[in-house]
Amino acid sequence: MADPMRIRAQATGDKTTVRVLMSHEMETGLRKDASGKAIPAWYIQEVTAQLNGKTVMTAQWGPSVAKNPFLQFSIKGAKAGDKIAMTWVDNRGEKRSDEATVS
């Protein structure tokens, strides 16, 4: 299974800043290995953010996003103690979900 994400969510007043670090190879499919064979594409395609179980953002990603991607976004109206859940799905159908609490 994929390695865990690191999620930090910090509330300042009405605005909550969420910072997510994902562990993924993000292969573009354009690189070649030592023997000259193309390395197959392998990247995150869909990212979903949920606040207390309700989807607040979905993003579609492609192969141009860097390895071990970092994502930052802000949410209005979240309070300390609320749950932020992040999920990604890659082009192999693998997925990973992690949760963090707003502080």
Partner: protein, 267 residues
């Protein structure tokens, strides 16, 4: 997409900054780029993996590394990194973090350390060691280097490291000191620390292990040294060999008092 959220893609931000940076000096722009990346240093992912690996029962003996003695007693991790390399009575050697981990993986977990030494960087157990060094060094973040020079083997290692540092050879007639022996030098846009003295907090020896953005890998000191030898067109003396550890002692003793920021973030 809902209007509640603003999505900031790192790549877009980096491009915008690059455009603004035209008026500034190159090193200002690089410092800015580093500060931006430091907020989401992927080394954290390796730290999380390393902590898990430390506690997990693994290897032929199905044991964890929690009883590993990194120099401050069995299982003590905090503060151990800033005192390495040091002399260990049980092995009778001066060891750096990576060679000490090999000892623990062999004695506690039953791994074959010779096989790990032969494994290429980033593969198999070498990839696990990257996680471990990230987590162990992170447990000493903010502490200051304080290497011991009390045992004769430690002073010998320092002298050996010093000689290796100034030893000029190879097709380019290069030594470590060619790049790292004076202040204010750089290769392209990379500032080169003067490692013959304390280069300051979080610079040089105090900045490794680190995440290399360009390759997306976490490098320990052994891999960093490997790269220096490669750039000098020297044959690599071998993973955890005495000369690499001696160079670690030389740089570590010189860096006494410098604050460790490892695992850091590099270009």
């Amino acid at each position: 997409m809902r209007k509640l959220c603003t999505l900031i893609a790192m790549a877009v931000a980096a491009l915008a900054t690059a455009a603004v940076a035209q008026q500034k000096s190159a090193s200002d722009a690089i410092a800015e780029y580093r500060a931006m990346l430091a907020d989401g240093n992927p080394a954290e992912l390796f730290e999380a993996k390393g902590e898990d690996l430390w506690k997990q029962k693994r290897g032929p003996k199905k044991a964890s590394l929690e009883q590993c003695n990194l120099g401050k007693g069995a299982g003590v991790v905090k503060g151990a990194f800033v005192e390495l390399p040091r002399w260990f009575a049980d092995t009778g050697r001066v060891q750096d973090l990576e060679s000490r981990l090999l000892t623990c993986m062999e004695t506690l977990q039953g791994f074959d350390s010779k096989a790990i030494i032969q494994t290429p960087f980033g593969k198999g157990e070498q990839a696990n060691i990257e996680g471990l060094v990230a987590w162990i060094s992170a447990q000493s973040r903010g502490l200051r280097f304080n290497l011991s020079q009390t045992h004769v083997a430690e002073t010998t290692a320092f002298e050996l490291g010093k000689r290796a540092f100034f030893y000029r050879a190879g097709p380019y007639d290069f030594s470590c000191a060619s790049c790292h022996g004076q202040e204010g030098k750089r290769i392209r846009l990379q500032d080169l620390p003067d490692l013959t003295k304390n280069p300051g907090d979080g610079v040089g020896f105090a900045a490794w292990p680190a995440y290399r953005v360009s390759s997306g890998e976490l490098w320990g000191m052994q891999r960093r040294l490997n790269d220096c030898f490669r750039q000098q067109r020297f044959p690599y003396p071998g993973y955890t060999s005495d000369v690499t550890i001696a160079l670690g002692v030389y740089m570590g003793v010189n860096a006494r008092g410098a604050e460790s920021i490892a695992p850091a973030l590099k270009r």
